[in-house]
């Protein structure tokens, strides 16, 4: 362990830089070409993870780090996938509830009801005017 710094040839950085440009252009093209459905989200995810990998691996020097650090940072991120799964189920359930109980087929426009409107019926029932 003579030196604790990371030093790599400039060409490595330039190649990754170009690669990130190409991958960004590809993901932008997905929108530009108007791909929809499975093609769209599979390509978006593919380019996203490729870009994330190259930024982490080369720019952040992850491929040259010791396994002790790499795993300490990489393994905890799997908890995120579990959380995504949980909230995926939860949001489906919430949407079902909203469709069953609240969806009138019209856009919701009423945000507040005047106080007098809310109590109109109860006043009439009691007969105090």
């Amino acid at each position: 362990m003579a030196q604790e710094g990371q030093e790599h040839p400039i060409s490595t950085y330039l190649w990754v830089w170009i690669l990130l440009f190409v991958l960004s252009a590809c993901s932008y093209y997905v929108d530009f070409a108007g791909f929809q459905g499975f093609t769209r989200w599979s390509l978006v995810i593919l380019f996203m993870f490729l870009k994330a990998y190259f930024i982490c691996a080369v720019f952040m020097h992850m491929v040259w780090e010791r396994m002790a650090l790499v795993l300490a940072l990489f393994i905890p991120t799997f908890a995120i996938i579990v959380f995504v799964g949980i909230m995926g189920f939860e949001s489906d359930y919430t949407q079902l509830g909203r469709k069953v109980f609240f969806d009138t087929g019209k856009p919701a426009t009423v945000y507040a009801v005047p106080h007098s409107e809310v109590h109109k019926d109860s006043h009439e029932e009691k007969g105090d005017h």
């Binding site: 710094g5 990371q6 993901s27 996203m48 396994m67 002790a68």
Partner: protein
């Protein structure tokens, strides 16, 4: 600083086990500042994950249609509407700034003071232009009537998610720019050669600081990759 070990370090999974079982330090061959930055970035990963998961939950649970980001974020150039043009430019600028940052780290370790300082300065300017474009985008959308509680394009959660996620990322970029300018000034003045003490911590700095700052800056770029994919392209 450097712990010189007589026993050679093992590599791979054997190295992982022996490093974690060892005395004094688990992260060998890494300056403590860099290890701490990595741990901070891991916690920041969870914060941004929570934002993006909240966005996913809002989008999947709403019964109103989600606004078409391709149209909301389009710019009109010479009478032609180009989808996501500004966002694409912002993406390329952030990647470019990551490239200059990586090269600044390299120049720093080679003790090329002026080159490292200039590259840090360039990174900061690129970051500043990113924040400027984001401010332009925000004011454009606010003028179009997008608010955290409503918008004319569809589901009301769209505005809250947009301002929350891009705002938090923008704050990260802004603080990164601030520290890039500070570090660029220190490098150009030769603080890491002369051992001049910092104004806040009163510690002597080293060129490793550029790599630690670089990790933060690349992380900001990394987060943008996910925001770009999930929020703008999805």
């Amino acid at each position: 600083m450097a712990t010189t070990s007589k026993i050679p370090l093992k590599d791979g999974m054997d190295g992982f086990v022996s490093d974690w079982a060892s005395d004094q330090r688990a992260f060998k061959g890494v300056p403590w500042g860099k290890a701490m930055m990595w741990i901070f970035l891991l916690s920041d990963t969870f914060i941004f994950s929570c934002f993006l998961i909240a966005y996913m939950t809002a989008r999947w649970s709403t019964v109103e249609p989600w606004p078409n980001t391709s149209e909301v974020f389009s710019l009109t150039v010479n009478g032609v509407s180009v989808p996501l043009l500004l966002i694409a430019i912002m993406t390329f600028i952030l990647i470019t700034s990551s490239g200059t940052m990586a090269m600044a780290v390299r120049s720093g370790y080679q003790k090329k003071r002026k080159q490292a300082g200039a590259l840090l300065f360039l990174t900061a300017v690129l970051g500043l232009s990113f924040v400027g474009m984001q401010a332009f985008e925000w004011s454009k959308l606010i003028a179009e009537g997008i608010r955290p509680w409503e918008n004319p394009f569809g589901a009301r959660q769209f505005g809250s998610v947009f301002f929350m996620v891009t705002g938090f990322h923008g704050i990260h970029v802004s603080f990164g720019v601030l520290f890039l300018f500070i570090t660029a000034r220190k490098v150009l003045r030769g603080d890491y050669d002369t051992g001049r003490r910092g104004f806040f911590t009163w510690q002597k700095g080293r060129y490793e600081i550029i790599e630690t700052l670089g990790l933060y800056w690349h992380f900001v770029d990394l987060v943008w990759v996910f925001i770009f994919a999930f929020f703008y392209l999805w």
